[in-house]
């Protein structure tokens, strides 16, 4: 079992196929509307007029696959009134279904929308890093399913040493809010965080899948 498991996403080669999302839903038998992993399409750009009167486009698009990042400073754990949201020794954040009151305060607080409300159960649910798989030496289902190997996982320190994290890219929130265990390889067209040079173009897809 890893000491501090983290996800790694190479946004240069992520094609936005959403196999990771489907694998997660399939493995955990998630109902419609509950998405422990989501693939966000961030796009923007326009035509610009050049000095010689010609027009050029600067259109861009890239994908970010996001689930719970099992943050070092998990705001969901701090805000949960019943301590149902808890973090184990490995840093994996999970929900104790016996005492979750279903207030959905964690859903408000998490900047990654990781805790997802399951109306049929009347409680919050979320990614647990496929803990059972990890304990048996396996890999999370989303990582196993990724056809381009854009999505990987491993020890945070090793991943951080290997890749220069480009976490400050739109549409992700500032890392200092929760210190996520997520390493990103920046896309060549990555836009600076908190600047509206683009927009999430598939809100219905990530909300209703």
């Amino acid at each position: 079992m890893l000491k501090r498991p983290a996800f790694f996403l190479d946004t240069q080669i992520c094609t936005g196929c959403k196999t990771c999302m489907i694998a997660c839903k399939d493995k955990h038998n998630l109902p419609m509307g509950v998405r422990w992993r989501r693939v966000v399409e961030f796009a923007g750009g326009d035509w610009t007029r050049e000095s010689d009167g010609t027009f050029r486009q600067n259109v861009f698009a890239y994908y970010i696959s996001v689930s719970c990042n099992h943050c070092q400073d998990p705001i969901c754990v701090h805000t949960c009134p019943s301590k149902a949201m808890n973090q184990d020794n490995h840093g994996i954040v999970s929900v104790n279904s016996d005492i979750c009151v279903g207030c959905r305060y964690c859903e408000w607080a998490c900047p990654y929308s990781a805790p997802q409300f399951d109306a049929s159960l009347g409680q919050m649910t979320k990614c647990d890093f496929c803990r059972e798989e990890l304990e048996q030496g396996g890999v999370p289902s989303c990582v196993a399913a990724c056809p381009t190997r854009a999505l990987q996982f491993g020890e945070y320190d090793q991943l951080a040493a290997r890749y220069e994290s480009g976490l400050l890219m739109a549409p992700l929130p500032a890392t200092e809010l929760t210190e996520p265990n997520l390493i990103l390889e920046s896309h060549r067209n990555a836009q600076p965080a908190q600047v509206r040079t683009g927009a999430i173009c598939n809100p219905e897809e990530v909300k209703d899948a």
Binding site: R38, V40, F42, V66, I75, H78, T79, C80, P81, S82, K83, A84, I99, C100, V101, G102, C103, R104, Y105, W108, A109, C110, P111, Y112, S113, F117, A119, G122, Q123, A170, P171, L172, P173, L177, T178, A193, Q194, V195, R196, G198, A199, I200, N202, P203, V206, K207
Partner: protein, 278 residues
């Protein structure tokens, strides 16, 4: 439904806290010249808090597990709120039999305790929404809004109760004057909340993980409608304070105007949270 239950919880509880404050302020304003005070403001404050707590329970997916929400008092502001609101209700409930028995020193102590517990509950309620990850709420506008709502609605309820009981109590002026001052103070807090609220909404729109607001009214328009309703209510309470008769009617109209503006503002407050995608 989810927003409505929270609108009910926050507005009813804030009204109850404000009503207790206005009641105690009215007593100070009267300068201890009157021996008896009606227990009705405390009865109504208790009823409002119970209604508010019912709204909070309706918000929970598993209300039967609600006692577990007290387990994280050390860290979670929501847990503290869950503790403080019933504590406030308990203090208010204890004042009611004492009001009937006219044991004034114990009553004053309990009313003061209820005032402080109400203030603490209001503070915890405000902190629940001051989340760094929700920029549209994480601004000075939230405490100003919540405190303003408590004082405005509490004063309006106080004015209605005082004017309804005016026939039995000829010396009712100090309480309705306290309510009028309360409404003016509440209005000032609401005006102070406008610039930070607009600024927070602008900042939230800059975040790429938020959708742009799809409300029917822009933030500026909504504030103008609310302030218009508040100004009408101020005129109504001034009429109620005068010797023009039908004070109860003017007070009730004032409460309706204020309540409409507050419900509108609170619904907009919750709708402002629009995270998408991630």
């Amino acid at each position: 439904m989810r927003n409505w239950s929270l609108v009910c919880f926050t507005l009813f509880t804030q009204s109850a806290v404000g009503l207790v404050w206005v009641r105690v302020a009215g007593r100070w304003f009267a300068g201890g010249t009157r021996a008896e005070f009606s227990p009705w403001p405390m009865v109504i404050a208790l009823a409002l808090t119970i209604l508010g707590l019912s709204g909070a329970l309706a918000h929970l997916a598993k209300p039967r597990l609600a006692p577990y929400a007290l387990r994280n008092l050390a860290v979670s502001w929501l847990s503290r709120e869950v503790f403080l609101v019933p504590a406030f209700a308990g203090a208010v409930a204890l004042t009611i039999p004492l009001s009937l028995r006219d044991t004034s020193s114990a009553l004053v102590i309990l009313e003061t305790a209820a005032c402080f517990l109400g203030g603490a509950a209001l503070f915890a309620m405000t902190r629940v929404y001051l989340l760094e990850t929700v920029p549209v709420w994480n601004s000075p506008a939230t405490p100003l809004e919540f405190a303003g709502s408590a004082i405005l609605l509490g004063s309006a309820f106080g004015a209605v109760l005082t004017s309804l009981g005016a026939a039995d109590q000829p010396d009712w002026k100090p309480e309705i004057i306290a309510a009028g001052i309360g409404i003016l103070l509440g209005l000032m807090l609401k005006v102070l909340a406008i610039p930070p609220a607009l600024s927070a909404e602008r900042e939230a729109r800059a975040q790429t993980w938020y959708a742009t607001t799809a409300a029917s009214l822009s933030a500026g328009q909504a504030w103008m409608v609310r302030m218009g309703l508040n100004l009408i209510s101020l005129v109504l309470i001034l009429i109620a304070m005068g010797e023009y008769g039908l004070s109860w009617l003017w007070s009730c109209l004032c409460l309706i105007c204020l309540g409409t503006g507050e419900v509108m503002g609170r619904l907009r407050f919750y709708k402002a949270y629009r995270r998408i995608g991630l």
